[in-house]
Every structure is written in structure tokens, then in C-alpha cells.
Amino acid sequence: MAASMSRFLLCVIVTASLALLSGPCMAQSQMAMAPDFSRADMAGTAVHLSDYRGKLVLLNFWASWCGPCRDEMPLFSRWQRQYGARGLQVIGVSMDDDAASARKFLKQHPVSYPVVMGDAKLGESFGGVLGLPATYLIDADGRIVARFEGEIDLKNVGARIQMLLSHMTR
């Protein structure tokens, strides 16, 4: 009885914390399954989103000419190194009109996570990527738990990632 009450309280606390940290980006009731995709990354390795079930995925749509995107990427690289062992996987999706621009940028500014090329179809499957940057958090079950448009609030999102990761490892 005491154990089930503890679990219930834990669930309430986690849910309330997630709701508080989620901000205006997405209500819990709006969580939808992330559409699967398979694309080759810049090294030619296939990236299947569904292969990352069991991990917390930070999916970031960006472009080499997008200032706020460029500002965020070093942090995403750091998060990948910092939280990768705990289950975070960052995936970048370049919305550059040509792959050469993305490759050139990544050669000058390497990141610690895979990057694939996106297109209108992929953007539409995520509800429309109608501005950059756009970032999604996808939980271990493949549900979109947050969507951030524009430059993210680093403190808020960092706290949310830590919360989701700690929830996963329980």
C-alpha cells in the first residue's frame, strides 16, 4: 500500500514538473507519436528515428544560414556528450536547400551527433517546420513531448531533458 502510494506520488510529482517545465510549447494531452523517417547522415550512415526508441531524442531542424540555429548547435553537441550515456540522442535535420551548404558548415563547425538532410515532406510530417530553428523532444516511447519554435530557452529545456532522463532511468 505504502509502495503504491509512493509510486502514485512520484507520478504526480513528475507529471506536475513536466507540465511546469513544458511551458507554452505543448500540453501533455497533445503528445503525438513522432513520424518515423530513415535518412542517410552526412557520413552516409542510415539514421532511422525508430531505432532510437528507448532513448530521449532531441530532434533539431536547422540551417547553415540561420543565426539562432548556429548558436544552439554547440550546446546540443555538449548535451550529446554530457547526457548521451544516460539516454539522450540528438539528431540534426538540415533544412538547407542544398546538402553542400550543410556539409561545408559542419566541416567548419563539427557536431557530436548525426545530421541528416530534411525536406518539405519531412517538415510536413512533423506538423510543418515553418520557421527555424524548430526542436522536438521525443520520449523513449516515440511520443513528441515538446516542440520549441525559435531559439530554445536553454535553461528550461536543459532542466526538462534532465527531468525526462531521470524519469527514464528509474
Binding site: A63, W65, C66, G67, P68, C69, M95, D96, D97, G118, D119, A120, G123, E124, G128, V129, L130, G131, L132, P133, E149, G150, E151
Partner: protein, 156 residues
């Protein structure tokens, strides 16, 4: 020889001004566009739905993948004005238009203060003599400030 040097001396400042002007236009922020040249999304949306209102030529000067997902009905893709190739395509698109033509340009790729396309496009068209030129003010991005507002939208 003297004449040749004299010509170079005359032409060099002109070339420098043109080069500097072009480079300057590409680095000017969206905030430098005069407020009188801006049109708000609600105003344009109203004009588009008014059957009696004359329709301007609408050009999207952002990235192709945004245009392909959603754009203003009737808008044509002109190419990203942040680079020389995009500006060339934009100039080519308007080359045969009368200078009095009503033109609206927009981007919406990212927040207004970070948009790399809209100011170069505005200054390029302004330099060509277009005076009936409006710039759609998109504060955050095309999704937030146009599509989510329920304004007319179509896709390729």
C-alpha cells in the same frame, strides 16, 4: 597609357561603391527597413480576401523548403536573397515590371531580427526603383505569424 590609368582611376571608385553597396545591403538587418515600408500580416490577409482589392505581386525570398510546405496563395518563390545567386534571381524576376508595380516580399524563415533574406531583398528592389514595395513583417516565423493565425495559405 595615361588614358588607361585615368579610366581605371575613374571606374574604380564606382566599382567600389557598387561592391560596397551590395555587401552593405546583404549585411543590413531587417530592423533597418523603414517602418513605412512594412505591412502587417492582418492587413495583407485582409487585402487578399477582399475580392475588389488589387492584388500585389507577392514574392517569397526565403528558403525553398519553407515555400514548399506552405506559402501565401499566389506567392511566387524568388529564392533566398541572402546570397548573390538569390538576389540575381530576384532582380531577374522583376526585371520587366514597371517601377510602379505593387510588390510584397516576405520571408518568415526565422525571427525578424535574425532574418538574413528580407533586408537584402528590400534594398535590392528599392535600389532598382520600385517604390510601391511592401515588406511583410513576420515577427517570429511564417508558421506562427501567418499559418497559425488562419490567414490564407497554400502549398506547392
Amino acid at each position: 597609357m595615361k588614358t588607361y590609368s585615368h579610366r581605371i582611376a575613374l571606374i574604380s571608385p564606382l566599382l567600389a561603391v557598387l561592391f560596397w553597396g551590395s555587401a552593405f545591403a546583404q549585411t543590413r538587418p531587417a530592423a533597418s527597413i523603414p517602418s513605412a515600408a512594412l505591412i502587417q500580416p492582418a492587413e495583407l490577409a485582409t487585402a487578399l480576401t477582399d475580392a475588389s482589392a488589387a492584388k500585389p505581386l507577392i514574392l517569397q525570398v526565403g528558403f525553398r523548403k519553407l515555400y514548399d510546405q506552405a506559402h501565401i496563395p499566389g506567392a511566387q518563390y524568388a529564392g533566398p536573397a541572402r546570397d548573390a545567386e538569390g538576389l540575381r534571381a530576384l532582380r531577374q524576376r522583376v526585371a520587366k515590371l514597371p517601377k510602379a508595380a505593387a510588390i510584397v516580399i516576405y520571408c518568415g524563415c526565422c525571427p525578424w531580427s535574425h532574418c538574413p533574406n528580407i533586408a537584402p531583398a528590400y534594398y535590392a528592389l528599392h535600389a532598382l526603383g520600385f517604390r510601391n514595395l511592401k515588406v511583410l513583417y513576420i515577427a517570429d516565423n511564417f508558421g506562427t505569424n501567418w499559418v497559425d493565425k488562419g490567414y490564407p495559405t497554400t502549398r506547392s
